[in-house]
Amino acid sequence: MNVVAEQPWLWAGLGAYLVATLIAMWGVSPRSENSPLVRNKTHEKLVLGFIVLGVLLLSAAIIARWVRIGHGPWISLFELLMSQMWSLGLIFALLYWRLPGLRPSAVIVLPVMWILGSWVLTLEPDISHFPATYYNVWKWAHVGVGKVFLALLLAGVGLGGVMILRTTERGRVWFRAMPSDATIDKLAWRLMMLALVFDSLMLIAGAVWAQDAWGRYWQWDSLETSAFLTWIFLAIGLHVRLTYKVKPWVSGAIIIGVFIMAFSTYFGTPYLSPSAHKGVI
């Protein structure tokens, strides 16, 4: 097996995320509640520290690949997954640091990130071709706000998952230290509101880029349709919550539904369809 420059950094970064995941799981377990590390919340600092370490190691992986192949992580699934692992980790670390109320939800968020982590390990780090249309500066805006959008959704998934799991006895034990469902629901939908802002910006920046790159701002290609469906599902979720009194677990299910749509938009559609977004035209 031929190991390329970015792989050791990638593996180390994923290793750091793995340690953070295990500590977070240990922290919510009832068996550990008498541990001094848990009582004085030192384990939360450890979780945050390992996530930050993972982000730093993934930064090194991205830089190493950038130097090796001459362009950023924009094209292949390997690059996109690596870069999403980085941005999701970075933004979740910020939320974890600033919003203590959501910290136990790391036991849901980090395993979801592990779907990406496991996936990237199965892919070859082949050199990708950088298409001419990707020199456009709007790509940075489109991808940047898109990363924030997905990270906010992921944090919402953590809270949504807590509301669903709390319908079970085990879930109520695991998340005993978290605020009430009403407070979690409020926090989750605040994150969803912010996600709507960043999703809207992503669509606008993407439309400007598409106009420059392909001569049309919107054409209902597979990826555009999928991205629009994510936006409308999020808007539907916000309006359902305004219109009806929604139970917390339903609220959580709506958030997870929107995330699944966004996830398939990011990591499914561009690689299943001959969409222009693959940039190989």
Binding site: L102, Y135, S180, G215, Y217, Q219, I232, I236
Partner: protein, 331 residues
């Protein structure tokens, strides 16, 4: 009546219908009517208008009001854009001036009132970079635009850098290639000079052929262009007409002739001269006068939404710390 139209339940129905329409439009299939999108969008626009007028949750909160007004304006502008747009293609050879009558596959809205007559430019040379494996890189297409003083301004366009004249946007495409310039000298009458565009290169590198029937004759002449461009699949390569040469194989009836530029051949009722080899570039032509309005209106909408969330989210703490502490102590 307006209050009923402004119902949030009606909003949800409209959104679900729009999501359904978008799913049907997935991948832009040709057999799905545009009405699957137009009807829900029209319903939502009506609902949105009614809500803006009657719903105090919207019209008394500046940020939310701006967002919803901009959302409505975006839908309306997109509609106006479709009614006034123009889409088309054109293939221009080196030194050829743009002529609106040569546009191909033109689709335009019923309200299209552009100044295509005022669009003037001349096509120059172009180059296209290819990475190994024939992966297309940057396109540099040289065009000359007349200045008011009669001189020509050289511009480099390509890929995401369109030529924009009179709000018409000309985008280079993958569709480009070579064309022999030919003169047909009939036994009687004036000679005709023109070009035969060969299929896109290098996409149809293996199929550089075309046919033409000289006017006044029933004889079909077949052309096959044997190109030497330096194309090598395993190495980086630049498509550049200046580095290309060609042999033109002409077949008419039983006669088959290989020609070099400058050579002539007698073909039945006339003579054919292969003048030279040139290149052509295919452009996508796009016109939509609402583009900049759409951009600024959508940005204003997002700013309105941001303002609303900013004020709303700052009114109460993100996490009720007392609640957190209480639950923590219970545990």
């Amino acid at each position: 009546m307006l209050r009923r139209l402004a119902s949030l339940k009606f909003t949800l129905v409209g959104m679900i219908l729009l999501a359904g329409g978008a799913m049907l439009s997935y991948g832009n299939p040709v057999d799905v009517s545009v009405w699957v999108l137009v009807v829900p969008l029209a319903l939502l626009a009506l609902n949105l208008f009614a809500a803006i007028v009657t719903n105090p949750r919207i019209n008394r909160q500046p940020g939310l009001l701006v967002f919803h007004v901009c959302l409505l304006a975006t839908v309306l502008l997109a509609g106006v854009g479709r009614l006034t747009h123009l889409d088309g293609h054109i293939e221009l050879a080196e030194n050829q001036a743009f002529n609106k009558d040569e546009l191909l596959d033109v689709q335009k809205g019923p309200w299209h009132r552009g100044n295509l007559d005022k669009v003037h430019f001349i096509q120059g040379r172009y180059t296209v970079d290819y990475a190994p494996g024939l992966k297309r890189g940057l396109t540099h297409s040289q065009v000359f635009v007349p200045r008011p003083d009669g001189t020509l301004e050289e511009r480099d366009v390509g890929d995401d850098r369109p030529l924009i004249l009179q709000r018409y946007r000309f985008y280079t495409t993958f569709n480009k290639g070579f064309a022999p310039i030919l003169t047909w000298i009939p036994a009687q009458g004036a000679p005709i000079t023109g070009r035969i565009n060969m299929p896109s290169y290098p996409l149809f590198e293996y199929k550089q052929d075309n046919r033409w029937t000289p006017p006044g004759t029933g004889e079909v002449i077949k052309f096959w262009l044997q190109l030497k461009t330096g194309l090598n699949l395993d190495e980086a390569w630049v498509l550049d007409g200046r580095n290309a040469s060609a042999t033109l194989v002409v077949t008419a009836g039983d006669k088959r002739v290989e020609m070099q530029p400058g050579e002539e051949v007698q073909l039945g009722p006339g003579r054919l001269r292969f003048e030279s080899l040139t290149t052509w570039m295919g452009y996508r032509v796009f016109y939509d006068p609402t583009l900049q309005w759409l951009f600024w209106v959508s940005i204003a909408g997002v700013l309105g939404l941001t303002h609303f969330f900013w004020t709303k989210l700052n009114l109460a703490p993100w996490v009720d710390e007392a609640d957190t502490a209480a639950r923590g102590s219970k545990a």
